[in-house]
């Protein structure tokens, strides 16, 4: 974990409610895809945890959806503004167990962390399949970016207005070695039940500190109590206990 002040290079709208912010600063503590940063915003007491979409050298990309006060405020941040971040939080995905044909399943704002994951898997010579799920055509983002990495990409929309109609679990490829997923809880459950291979799932929870001190985001697992912020957000399929 590092306490770093970043400078915002860009903050653009991708869809009606989803924004992409690029920042410049020391990214050296962001070691694995699926990790997150915790952002201090003026006038708000608690930091806001946002998953890392990509980091390349000093450039950090965050994609976030405006869902409340914090993300609303983030959407108004202009180029050149400074943002204090705690970086390199959370365990991130373990790519060493992916096998040759990993499958990545993302839903809505669960899509962003899969981008850096796909990038690293492709770099490792894997044949990466990606299924991106959205509610409707207007919400779709990053399809082309995943394609540009060389992934085989399928998009699903719940209303069928774009891509294949249905959920990500309606578009599973026939063959895959392992899966990685991030998205809303009902989607994670559906993926857990539908995918036969082993996999890793990234969870979301309201956090206090984001680095394991306050026990605000604990969950029960087969291997004991875990803190989503520090022992997660990524959990192995085999350790998950569904409570909610």
């Amino acid at each position: 974990m590092k306490d770093v002040v970043f400078t915002v290079s860009d903050n653009i709208k991708l869809t009606e409610h989803v924004y992409k912010m690029t920042l410049c600063g020391d990214c050296s503590d962001i070691l694995r895809p699926g990790q997150f940063v915790n952002i201090k915003l003026d006038g708000l007491y608690l930091r806001r945890p946002i998953s890392v979409c990509d980091r390349e050298g000093d450039a950090l990309t965050l994609i976030y959806k405006v869902v409340g006060k914090g993300t609303e405020q983030m959407s108004t941040i202009k180029q050149g503004e400074k943002l204090p971040l705690l970086t390199g939080l959370g365990n991130g995905y373990d790519i060493s167990v992916s096998g040759q044909k990993p499958l990545l399943l993302g839903g809505g704002v669960g899509v962003p962390p899969l981008y850096m994951l796909a990038k690293e898997l492709v770099k490792d010579g894997k044949e990466v399949s990606v299924v991106l799920g959205f509610n409707t055509k207007d919400e779709v983002f990053y399809e082309d970016e995943f394609k540009a990495l060389g992934c085989s990409v399928t998009v699903t929309t719940v209303d069928g207005s774009y891509g294949k109609k249905g959920f990500v679990t309606d578009a599973l490829p026939e063959e895959y070695s392992y899966y990685y997923t991030c998205g809303p809880l009902p989607m994670l459950k559906a993926v857990f039940n539908s995918c036969k291979s082993s996999g890793q799932l990234s969870f979301e929870e309201r956090m206090g500190c984001g680095f394991g001190a306050c026990m605000g985001c604990s969950c029960r697992t087969i291997t004991g109590y875990k803190r989503i912020c520090r022992d997660g957000p990524v959990l192995y399929k085999e350790e998950i206990l569904w409570e909610k």
Binding site: D3, Y45, R47, E205, M207, A213, M215, G216, S218
Partner: protein, 294 residues
């Protein structure tokens, strides 16, 4: 004794800054970030007889200048703490630690206190009779002078270490409770624990926190804590630790002017993991600026 050092119940602290229980774990997460030996001491995570998971999530909410939590005393249980957490802490922290203890019955408090009394690393027992987030015990013991005194007496009977009673602000008269603890043999008072509060999510019309209510902490409670410290320190002879919303070296000084011997820093650690380090570094200069004599 150095310029910042204080005597807390017979043990010298290099400075009055103490991370508050529940915001510093058992110290290990912070020891990765900075040398925690710079602290006066710290109060470790509220520990109970049995391991506890705590409350369902969400456990956290935000408010203007503060936050709410309803963690509900998640901890691995006293045996685990003695077997694993204290030995791990010993490798990174050479000072005496403050053991924060909670329970559902007087017997629980006594059980945990007896075990932690045997640990050389533990300097003080901080008895939490003020947790607002558990159904049995916790704040229940801290809302009447009689039950607060009963816990104090029972714990004092099984330990030679200084006993500090951590009090709840969710009472009619905190001073009478502090006095009852003193009369029952308490060596110190810590004031205050969190204030009972709640938030509602307008999108659902339902409470943000699964437990419905939670404890409010952060800068918004500072004036309440300061008032309690001021009133208690004028009514008792034992040292008072000021706790509640302290975030800066100036806040520490204000607490000490109010009568605090030492000061706990809670929610600030969660927002800025380096908060205590910064406060300790700034304190000498701030003491000089306001010509504060310890």
């Amino acid at each position: 004794m150095g310029k910042m050092s204080v005597d807390l119940c017979g043990i010298t602290l290099d400075n009055p800054v103490i991370p508050a229980s529940g915001t510093f774990g058992y110290g290990l997460e912070f020891a990765e970030l900075y040398d925690i030996n710079i602290l006066g001491t710290f109060s470790f995570k509220g520990t109970t007889k049995e391991p506890r998971f705590g409350n369902p999530t969400p456990r956290i909410a935000e408010c203007a200048s503060g936050m709410l939590n309803a963690v509900g005393l998640q901890n691995p249980g006293v045996e685990h703490v003695i077997k694993y957490e204290l030995p791990a802490l010993k490798k990174v922290f050479a000072k005496k630690v403050m053991a924060n203890i909670s329970g559902s019955s007087i017997e629980d408090y006594v059980y945990v206190s007896e075990l932690l009394d045997r640990e050389d690393q533990v300097g003080w027992l901080e008895i939490n009779i003020s947790c607002p987030n558990v159904k049995a015990g916790g704040m229940g013991f801290g809302t009447s002078a009689e039950s607060a005194a009963a816990v104090t007496k029972a714990v004092k009977a099984v330990t030679k270490k200084p006993v500090i009673m951590k009090l709840s602000p969710n009472v009619t008269d905190i001073v009478s409770i502090a006095k009852a603890c003193e009369d029952a043999g308490a060596d110190g008072i810590c004031a205050i624990n969190t204030l009972l509060g709640m938030r509602i999510d307008l999108k659902t019309g339902k409470p943000v926190i699964a437990n419905v209510t939670g404890g409010v902490s952060g800068p918004c409670v500072f004036p309440v804590a300061l008032r309690a410290v001021y009133q208690i320190s004028r009514a008792v002879k034992i040292p008072v630790i000021g706790c509640g919303g302290v975030s800066t070296a100036e806040d520490v000084l204000e607490m000490m002017y109010a009568g605090a011997t030492a000061v706990q820093v809670g929610a600030a650690n969660l927002v800025d993991p380096f908060a205590c380090k910064k406060i300790i570094e700034e304190l000498p200069e701030v003491m000089d600026r306001y010509k504060f004599k310890n």
